[in-house]
Symmetry: D2
């Protein structure tokens, strides 16, 4: 019997139909970030019981838009760009687990199925959204430049309900691209039993992971606005309300992902 | 600490952001089916090692398009129809496991994230596609009627590559809506460890499930055409090539889903 | 030289690329209507100078959602349903021109390019939107029935800004499907000169048109809610604000369109 | 009576709902071009009777993909990027009219309604398509660089039928970005009478136009592949078949459009 192949389903004899190929996965893109503070109680409320608040600035949140091109080894996806390009909008907080401080993605929207599949594998709670982000371009009046005064907007909607919108105006070079999403990730991967009403989990893991091979251009600080909204299907504003904007950021990056570590099987 | 709520991620204090609510899930829709035979070797090749071919007509396949409206208890999704409506296109074969014959969905595309999430939970290998299906309507020249001579088309594409197209012309009432997708489902739920290059699975289950509360109108038999294609990202035609069309079918249904049974933890 | 063929551009030797074929055009679909009154001054403000308010109930507006399947002679589009199916959401008022009372579509969104092209030809001010409308289906809990108590929702968004949402709950059979969109249409077809800053119009016509061959099922009256919104790109709520809901309606129809009449070249 | 405002319909009291604002319009973007030769008879067949073939290289065609960000005066669209970003794929030939050689866009697909509206105004035969184009990015393995060896892909589909796909591999700097789309445009703006079966046109103009304020980075020559296809709704391959690829090109540009000139009212 021929072996079924593929990193993620569907598995076929050739492996070609697999929704995602095996890592490493490569990413190039533009990141637009607004860091802000929410109520500490709101961060506490979105962390699982076995996770604690970060010691410093526990109410800090990063709301990040990413305009990505991605591929696997060999880069075949790049020449059929529908298979390579997607956008993300996500909210990250920090937390502590077994004494170590991590970043944690608590809400995330993407625009393609392969991005959802990588999320399922990595413990990101991915959903589909309609996501737009101003692009920097080198010529013409219809694009900002990556320089002081450059203005960028970013928006997120799902099911035709607007969930987030941001603007940033670059002020000057920055040593960092913010601090909230700068640590290894701490995620939970959980799958419920198929039996109706069953307690507990069929899969319940705590994972950590980081990108590798990170390269970036000059990061820029920015004045920023961020508005969050709720809808019947998403409580974004009420989950992590904006109490105080800290700063906006813009940077162009390249990175890879090649696996993580299981911290616990619960 | 408030408890995190939700059936599927993301989990929040309110539970509102969960991509799918807990079952039961309700479905109303139109099903367009083309049953055909492929090479028995091709069905063998797409079944896992612990699953056998069906004893009778092992090469039989159903390629099914479904035009669904769905909701959970209370039906709130129905009044915000973007949260309720979606389409599916999927390939089903039969198989045997521990002496029992089952149906098994081996390839499936949907049009929304909540449909993908139900699939992840149920072991359907869901991907996103662009799916279209002729609707029956009672008035005017721009719709078929559900009667002899009624003609319907259905198409599936992904990443701008056409993968399947079918036409059916209703011939007469049918006692059944086909036989290939008429049994309880046999699915595998598998999740790989997060460690790069790790062998085996973090989750590896064999499940069975069926709908409940099934109601349907009169099923119709049809003359049918079905063309399958391959793309760089999908081997549909080479995985389950059409060797002989058996019959087309059309039926309008209502059904529910409220859990399954784990047959094995592997 | 071979003749260029096609009803609307692009014109090619075969005519196959034409965005729309020549009439007659056929339509089958579900219509969900909310009739309401706005301020008479708002209707006056959206009518051109050469058009007067209707004598009776001049502030009456119909906001209509339509879930269409459409085709031309021969119905080839029906079997490739992406070429046939689309949705519309539109606002209609009444007006008087040269002593005759007409209906007039003042705002309209559709979901396909062929629908836009028919609009350009017919003088409908069409834009693209994201449009959803609950479907009636005969089985299951995930669809209303066309009967007293049947509940339907409809939504409209553009550029990820929600512009309109409605709900209707059917109360009983109705002799009519409302009165605002029940008259021949009065539209203007206007094209500006290509010269920058030029006054006037290259094309400036007043047209009237009606559907032909209209058939419908039983219309139903309904209790209705309608909320309109503005966005940076659309002033819907401020253009025709809802002051008093008159009634909702639901009906399934078939109709054709086969030309109109030029009332004036201005 | 308040005056109705807007450059293109719908016209409202505020003018905010107009699908496009008045020019000037600004564009920034990436252009990927494949120039090739088709049969001279095919170019002749797609030109109107009053237009002649170009004297030199009359069979030359440019198939161009453009990844645009666009805005009007003030750039408000840029911060709500859904209102600003779109893609184009279009075929351009050359021709002669009254002794002057022009470029002419004979087939064109776009991804937004505001792009269609500009086309209707400018005489481009615009339709909606699904369009993807590899982006150059400065970091990471998931993007080409604009340098020798940089590889880019571009695809076009409509109604789930693939119509064109290209790849280019940059070889070296180029003095030009090709020659076929380098001249002022010659377009026809034609609108048929609303009367069914009427002969002739309500509007029948010959226009010319050019961009203004053009700026660009270094153009690059490239080895190129281009495949065209037909569908039931588009004859692309049979209209302008690829007989001999001349060259590929890549360039980043900024430009504006601020009106044209009517050459004839026919």
């Amino acid at each position: 019997m021929p072996e079924l192949k593929g990193f993620a389903p569907p598995f076929t004899e050739s492996g070609r139909s697999a929704l995602i190929p095996h890592p490493p996965w490569f990413y190039s893109g533009d990141l637009l970030t607004v860091e802000y503070r929410t109520d500490v109680e709101r961060v506490r409320a979105i962390l699982p019981d076995d996770v604690e608040l970060a010691e410093e600035d526990p109410g800090a949140v990063a709301f990040i838009w990413a305009d990505w091109q991605s591929c696997s080894d060999g880069g075949a996806e790049l020449l059929d760009p529908a298979r390579s390009q997607y956008k993300e909008a996500f909210a990250v907080v920090r937390c502590r687990y077994e004494g170590v401080t991590y970043s944690r993605c608590v809400l995330i929207w993407v625009t393609t199925d392969f991005a959802i599949a990588r999320g399922v594998y990595q413990g990101y709670p991915k959903k589909l959204g309609s996501i737009h982000q101003t692009r920097p371009m080198p010529f013409g009046k219809a694009a900002p430049r990556i320089e002081a005064g450059g203005r960028f907007g970013a928006t997120l909607a799902a099911y035709d309900h607007r969930l987030a919108q941001a603007t940033i105006t670059l002020t000057g070079p920055s040593d960092t691209n913010g601090f909230v999403n700068a640590l290894p990730m701490l995620h939970h991967r959980q799958v419920r039993p198929i039996e109706r009403g069953a307690d507990g989990w069929s899969l319940d893991e705590v994972l950590t992971m980081s990108g590798v091979g990170f390269e970036a251009g000059q990061a820029w600080k920015a004045d920023a606005t961020l508005e969050l909204f709720d809808s019947p299907w998403d409580d974004v504003a009420s989950t992590l309300p904006v109490r105080e904007v800290i700063s906006g950021y813009h940077v162009q990056v390249g990175t890879s992902w090649d696996g993580g570590t299981t911290l616990a099987h619960r």
